[in-house]
Symmetry: C2
Subunit: 394 residues, 2 copies
């Protein structure tokens, strides 16, 4: 039978990153293309203790069906923590627990966008989110990134020109892939622009807790007095991505619609996983664990930058990020980027070609993305030396 697929899915290519992740599951390949948290960043003892306790004391709750909006005590714990540490969440806000922050992107597009509506994105941006949006046949308009965040003149131009813009999608901290952190000034201006033009903001902050240098910049959601920001958070980078637990904090009406959307998607996020996160947040010193993760990533980031400077100096043009999992940099104009990526893969070093993160099919870039959280120190040194050898051929 000749299968006929929906327009929405025919337009989507499999995520280049996911495809590369398949390659990198080959243990021979040095995984600079992945986005996995460092294995030593998982609080294994805590997870072991909690699992045992949950299944001893509360097994039926942990295994039975649950409500779509999420486990109420976890909702309250996350809201309280976000409010206390980041002034996130007003009277008009509500929270929903999601199957990873990826599901927040899926639900945001699902409840806000008709086919042909516009989402304004940073360019480059995280391909997973872009594909979530494309699956609802939203039209993506990219605004170029500068070293302190989106070019706001271009953003305003886009908001003026485009009809039916439903939201601006931003990753303000250590953006994936660019590593850029948006300045406070730009966050405030971006908020003011969104308010003026009557569009929402989806603030995706999976990496916020991985800051290894510089000072925390307030979240856009922290100055949301108007109910225009949907904030997405995740436990993937601070606890474990395999659990698939994230959340959105947004105005009550939006969360209510997201809940209806989630019912039809997966009924609820696994309750065992939610209980595990809840116990970890409330009975363990998770702030100390976050500090430990930052120490791990600081050392990884420094090592990778040292190796770039020694092996790829003058060849890979980058700015050291203050957190996150990625380094983004540009190859010399004379070097054909895709060929370089393929050559690297042939030598068993996986990196992501920058083109995967561009918004429009005809966008050009000579950048690549390197991940420093996944490889061991030893693999990192080895991989960078291989890239250093490859460089000599250009």
């Amino acid at each position: 039978m000749e299968y006929q697929f929906s327009d929405r899915i025919s337009a989507l290519k499999p995520s280049a990153i996911r495809e590369i992740l398949k390659v990198t599951s080959n243990p021979d390949v040095i995984p600079f293309a992945a986005g996995n948290p460092a294995p030593e960043a998982f609080p294994l003892d805590a997870v072991r203790e909690i699992s045992q306790k949950l299944l001893a004391e509360n097994p039926i709750l942990a295994l039975q069906y649950s409500v779509t909006e999420g486990y109420a005590p976890l909702k309250q714990a996350v809201l309280a923590d976000m409010k206390r540490r980041y002034t996130i969440g007003r009277e008009f806000d509500e929270i929903i627990i999601t199957s990873g922050a990826q599901q927040v992107m899926d639900l945001a597009a699902k409840v806000l966008c008709n086919e042909g509506d516009v989402i304004v994105c940073e360019s480059p941006s995280f391909i997973g989110s872009l594909n979530s949006f494309r699956a609802y046949k939203a039209i993506l308009k990219g605004v170029e990134m500068e070293s302190d965040g989106m070019n706001l003149e271009k953003l305003e131009e886009t908001l003026k020109t485009e009809k039916n813009v439903r939201f601006i999608y931003t990753i303000p901290n250590f953006q994936n892939p660019s590593g850029v952190t948006m300045s406070l000034e730009k966050r405030k201006k971006l908020y003011a622009l969104a308010k003026r033009y009557g569009v929402l903001i989806v603030e995706d902050n999976p990496y916020g807790e991985t800051r290894v240098a510089g000072e925390n910049v307030p979240a856009i959601k922290s100055f949301d007095e108007d109910g225009i920001v949907i904030y997405a958070g995740s436990f993937s980078k601070i606890l474990a991505p395999g659990l698939r637990v994230g959340f959105a904090i947004a105005p009550r009406e939006i969360v209510a619609k997201m809940t209806v959307g989630k019912q039809g998607s997966d009924v609820h996020t696994p309750i065992f996983n939610q209980l595990l996160v809840y116990e970890w947040m409330t009975n363990y010193d998770f702030l100390a664990h976050i500090k430990k993760i930052q120490d791990v990533y600081r050392s990884r980031l420094n090592l990778m930058c040292d190796m770039i400077d020694s092996e790829l100096g003058g060849f890979f043009n980058y700015k050291k990020p203050e957190g996150g999992l990625f380094i983004w940099g540009e190859l010399p104009e004379s070097v054909p980027m895709l060929e370089f990526v393929k050559e690297a893969a042939a030598r068993k070093v996986a990196v992501v070609p920058g083109i995967a993160f561009m918004i429009n099919a005809d966008d050009r870039t000579n950048c690549i993305r390197l991940n420093f959280s996944t490889p061991t120190d030893e693999a990192m040194v080895k991989g960078m030396k291989i890239l250093g050898e490859l460089k000599k051929e250009y």
Copy 2:
């Protein structure tokens, strides 16, 4: 701010069942409205042992990111089991692990339906699936149920009349809510009709393992030589729904598209949960556990039928199902069904009004759905006596 939502989500009302589930989480209410597996049906000791073993021996695998299509050994184990026990799966088929069988419905509509395309459904049918389909703005056409499955004359009429029918959605075993099992003859005819009219079949079989009487009827997928059946299975009723692990077996090209769709939905199903299911399937006697579950449900079903006969005899017109979790029956024409449901709720007995399962807004029914898997024997007796008292007022 006045929020503007997508047409797709504005058309959806929160699932009446989910809303009722919220009420029934009040421990005072007798939960004939739920669809929860019986707590004593969970293999608690196995889950405890497996969790401990996984987190001792393979913690990083259990907590790290994984691939979208599912944990390869689990995929192989499920495929092998389905092939061996049910002759499901041909050379051209592939499997994807999903976040519950609900996600199979979401992905089927996502990859197969453009807005305005038609899905043919049994009427009544499971509201969760109907809402998944509606979220993609598919048009649902209901075909009435008979005691041995869909009315096939009406089905053919619909296939003849309707343009752009993308698939027929059926729950062939112990259908939710009607309890009906489709006869082998109808399964074969339905398959032939789908083939003749060039439409796919989505065969949703969450309850197949809960048969408590009669003989197993072969799955439609078992005679799929043409690659036109998407088979959905679930571990919710045989292991634990809170884990959210299901699967689809379908032609390779369809599974490939579903994988792309799933990437944007939730990246992957939690890997800890997948590993748990895999260990249970391979290292435990899960067939013995299924037999145990059947014994539990046989006794529950028999008790509920006894109570109906003694308390609601002549008032609640039903046919005893051979499995599943539900009894569907009709109140006398003179009894206003919705009023009866509300009166029952006021007396702390929750049942689902049949209207929740109808396809079209103007469909009428005087049926209600009773669940026999959730309440304890004691609660069941008490609840049925309350309904018996209520009956006397009509």
